[in-house]
Amino acid sequence: MRTKRPRKPVRAPLAPGVAVALAAIFVAAPGPGQDRQVVIREATILPVSAAPLPRGSVSFRDGIITAVGADITAERDAVVIDGTGHYVLPGIVDVHSHLGVSPWPWVPGNSDVNEDGGDPLTPHLRAIDAFDSADPAIRWVAAGGVTTIMVLPGSANVVGGQAAVMKLRLGRSAAGMLFEGAPRIMKIAVGENPKLTYGARGRMPRTRMGVIALLRDALSQAQVYRDRWDAWNAAAAADRGPAPGFDPKLDALADMLRGEIQVAAHTYRRDEFLALLQLSDEFGFELGSFHHAMDAYRLGPELARRGVGVAVYADAFGRKLEHWEQVPQTAAYLSSLGALVTLHSDFPFFAQRLHIEAAKLVRYGGISQRDALKTVTLSAARLIGVDAWVGSLEAGKHADIAVYDRHPFDSFARVEKTFVDGELVFDRVRDRAWLERTP
């Protein structure tokens, strides 16, 4: 079996010099300076990777956390933020978002999420190419404490295209928001969405058989394509014939078969999990995560053993037959089995409320608050391969931080500040004019 997680990088992806250069572009908003030490003091710290600190501090500089502890000495020119009564936690990570590709307002002219015009196999599409960094929902989600998202193409196509892992660096272009070093991830969708999209037009796939057959057919072609190119690349220049023809679709699938792109699969039912696991064994691609995964509780030990990440809703379900048999204990149960489990949003409202979604795991699943918080921070970061950099409050990690006015599991809690790479992207006081945008 292939290794399931991308290797951890040996160093942070941004050299300090680069970070400073980027910061220079991005200091338009008033807030703590990037080059000065910032210390949030006298707050309850929820580092996720360690036990909560009832009265602690977090410091950062140049976008990187420098210390987390009970007592941190502020430098003479430090920006000190009094966190009395507040809760400080790592920025929330949302592994399933359509921000930017399905921007507000939701009108047809804005929808760039499903390229379902003709071909159910579109592995060459890239979410980044349609990402509207001016989507107003991005700021709204950042105001919910979210700092990293994975943007996925929709689920109308069996192979929808390539995801983009983004940092919510507000005001930057799509390229400027890309999470440097994040792995490449391919969106696959099985079940009702592709079969209803194409079946309604009298085309394949109209059945789950058709969905898997299309995948197997495409992957078989990609194997041949990959072998041809690998042989051509391996041959000495003198022995090479003409290069094989380039096919953008097969090229993306070949990278998947080479293990350079892992798979995030939109799937609900147990039989689909098993079919995809079998395909992964057959073709040797890296099955990174099952998204939505309503039936994951029916296959808990197997999913834990195979190391496939599972992304679910806390208690949302039921629009379609395939997501009817939900139970709100799923995430807590999988977590107790040691599986990699996260909560995801799919929609801006859930994204902004992932802390409340996590609180539901405590209520329904009886797991600890720390384990529940982990599902929307460190585990989520791991599922999309960026846990070396984000997902917990630890020295050396990115200064992606959310500050709440109450415990994040309190129904009445609000985010006060959100930092991305040490930059204050949301501040409830500073951004009052935006919050009260109605004339």
Binding site: G300, Y333, R353, K360, F412
Partner: protein, 418 residues
Amino acid sequence: MIALLASVLAAAGPQLPGGGDEERSERVVAIRDVRILPVATPPIESGVLLVRGNRIAGVGADVTIPPDAEVVEGAGLTVAPGFFDTYTGIGLIEVAGVPASNDSQEPGGVTPQLRAADAYFLDSELIPLVRNAGTLILLSVPGDRNVVAGQSALMRTAGTTLGAAAVKEVAAVHANLGEPSKGGGFRTRMGAVAALRQILQEARDHAAREDAPPNYRLDPLVRVLRGELPLVVRAHRRDDILLALSLSDEFGFRLVLAGGADAPLVAAELAARDVPVLVQPDLQPATMETAGVRYDNAAHLARAGVRLAFQSNETTLSRQLIPNAGLTVAYGLPYEEALKAFTLYPAQIFGVADTLGSLEVGKEATFFLTRGDPLQVRTPVVSIYVQGRRYEPRSYQTRLCETFIAPVQESIPCLPTR
């Protein structure tokens, strides 16, 4: 047939919840040492809630427990009157994507004759789910794509016959302005509103006729024009809300506003006319007509003196209404007002405050017990009473959990621990 049914019902005895004012066995239950949120009066930190049959017989710190009472220990628990969800598709929609189980939306544009009660699915799996979340009364509303959608039903979330479950089989007539109504046979707001105005005029003319024969389309609107039923108008944009107000002036009906993304902009007007608003706490500025919505909408409206009731505008997500309503408190709605927007205010708005909406002697014994603040997402609902009958917080999800999870992992609770 009727006799047979009656004998079956009689044989079933206490298995079936009683309906309306029907007298049932006079079982007496006393929940003691419980924190009580009566809503109409201040909280009681530790008291007794006494139930006789399907009615509340005592509420207070010094209620004497009769010797024949079944005593329930309420220490550590809080009791609140059943919450309302004032706009749902529950009963009409089961699996939205499966047409066979979706009875929400008729074509036609103007369909006042539709009655949610006629299609209400009493055995919906969604009913126990919202009941377990504390929603004990819901308004089941026909789909919103018709400018006149039909008649909603105010239902308890328990009961195996329509008579037993219904608080009001017809609670309101519903009209929809703005974006969805343009899908029901009209292309523009002008077209939809012209049709609305036309049928209101027809209803007015019909009401004026002394020899008017029964008319299944116009009669519900005649009841609206006579003030017997409110007209709930779904509207978000300021101009749509103002239009609803001017139609209310023109035709003289009792207006209830649903949605109201821009409602704070006309809050003073709404307060002056006592037009209540059914607020959806999780409404997002995601569509053209909701672009103006803010989380502090509810706070603004309450401050201006507008009566509020919460609505989920959902079906399968309706059980998220309570955690979502936390947002309105986070954004400035006083806690007590939020509690009333779940209970007393909706009971007043739909004319059932004589039996529901607060814990008072003589009112219906429809309430739920929680371990902690009922408005907090982490608080489990441990027990539910509807018309005096107790319900465990079980659902089909409990069965799935017990089948697939409990045998593997004992530590995961399939039911909230009392």
